[in-house]
Amino acid sequence: MPPLEFAQLLDRSLALMAREAPRAYERLGDAFGASAVRLEVGEERIAVRFAEKRHRLEASARGQSALVRVDRATILALADGELALLDAILCERLWLQGSVDAVIHFDAALLAYLDGALRCPSFPKLLREYHGARA
């Protein structure tokens, strides 16, 4: 089975969170507010935002948004604890761009996302699929 694309990982993990950790999913929606995050992962281009308490993955974002540019290897290094987020930024393996407000929203949304993901019993299996390992 080929590894998941990043958009698949993100969409499925958010759907999992809505089902398995709904309060954390609500907190994630609150952290996003009206802002969006644009993600460039390798060749993939997606934007994520919340509307009417549900996440939306779209091809592009309107309005205020942070831009995150990163590659798959860096995401895996972050998930495996081999690389800290700050180090990834400082050594230019992860680019984060946006207004101060957008970056603050992104930071709050990232922490809320991780807090929620960790409450989902099915998340480790999903992460292994993104890794390309047998689930």
Binding site: A21, G81, A117, P121
Partner: protein, 352 residues
């Protein structure tokens, strides 16, 4: 000697067994329980923890989630570790028994000796250990951890370990290595109004008769001490307990551990703190009547276990396991206490 061994075995069989969650038979959810071992080899240290915990951090509470948490530190390879979770078909644990199997790890208690066989981290670590208890166990009374929450523990403060730990293909043979074991159980939720500091100290000198355990429970913000104490053993028997009012605890310095290992590894993202509120040194003075102890714990480095808070409490709880050195001096019941040796300091607190 044979009678003492038989007594030790009977005490362990009576106290060191799985309690199991009441929720497994329709009772209340919230039980947590673990069986914990620390082994101090020459150039290698191991922390191994089997747990059954009711997990209320997700939408539908899960009862008795079986996990193995292991941390190993070798002089050659530094820290490694994982938190491994298992489906129930790969787990064998019976209430009232010590023995267990989780995945490729197994614990047995036979003829007064703990026997551990484990393959961990997909084969990165393999071990076969025999751990012989050298001191009688103690069991604590229930320690309240805020409203409706409490924990108890059963401790075998000193064992000696023989066997092999292989890390990334490198064999470490252990001969009479100092070791420690406890079992904790209770009903509480991660993220509740509590924190703890806990330490064990064992002597380098195998002939030294002393071993020591320190524990302090506080509220989550560490402004109010709920309970604290020191238990001291001399040879196989409990020699002295010093209680809350007898102790003065002081922390100093800062343990710089920004890049320490955190498990599960993805948790490093969720708890990116630099461990800035962890001390480099903990000094404990204790006295009562003519007895006194001065304990210095120097924290060398650490790994962290990060768990999501239970219930609807956002955030995580961070449990730091610090490889440490202990120096203990004092006088108890007219006898001088003096030893230095390996220690583990465990700090459970909200992230900085």
């Amino acid at each position: 000697m044979l009678a003492e061994t038989a007594l030790l075995t009977a005490l362990i069989e009576r106290g060191d067994h799985w309690r199991r969650s009441p929720a497994s038979v329709g009772g209340r959810v919230g039980h947590k329980e673990w069986s914990h071992f620390c082994v101090f080899g020459d150039g290698i240290e191991l922390l191994l923890n089997w747990s059954l915990m009711d997990d209320t951090g997700s939408f539908r509470p899960r009862v008795e989630v079986p996990r193995v948490t292991w941390l190993v530190r070798s002089d050659a390879g530094g820290w490694d570790g994982e938190l491994e979770e298992f489906d129930s078909e790969h787990v064998a644990v019976r209430g009232g028994r010590i023995d267990l199997r989780m995945g490729a790890s197994e614990l047995r208690f036979r003829d007064g000796v703990y026997e551990i066989d484990a393959v961990l981290g997909g084969g990165r670590v393999a071990l076969h250990l025999l751990l012989r208890p050298l001191a009688r166990p103690a069991i604590t009374s229930s320690i309240a951890l805020g409203s409706g929450s409490a924990v108890r523990w059963f401790v075998v403060p000193r064992l000696e370990a023989d066997g092999v730990i292989s890390v990334a293909g490198r064999r470490h043979e252990l001969r009479r290595a100092p070791a420690y074991h406890d079992r904790d159980w209770g009903r509480f939720g991660w993220g509740g109004d509590f924190s703890w500091e806990w330490a064990i100290a064992l002597p380098d000198d195998r002939e030294s008769p002393w071993s020591l355990v320190f524990q302090r429970f506080s509220d989550r913000h560490r402004l109010r001490v709920l309970s604290q104490g020191i238990l001291l053993w001399r040879r196989g028997t409990h020699a002295r307990t010093l209680h809350s009012r007898d102790l003065s605890v002081r922390s100093s310095g800062r343990l710089r551990a920004a890049a320490c290992l955190r498990v599960p590894r993805v948790m490093a993202l969720a708890a990116p703190g630099s461990a800035a509120d962890l001390p480099r040194r903990i000094e404990i003075e204790a006295s009562n009547g003519g007895d006194r102890l001065a304990i210095e714990l120097e924290l060398l480095d650490l790994a962290q276990i990060v768990v999501p808070n239970d219930g609807d409490v956002p955030g995580v709880t961070v449990i730091s396991e610090a490889r440490s050195r202990a120096n203990v001096e004092g006088r108890v019941r007219g006898e001088r206490v003096s030893f230095a040796g390996p220690a583990v300091v465990e700090l459970n607190r909200a992230p900085a």
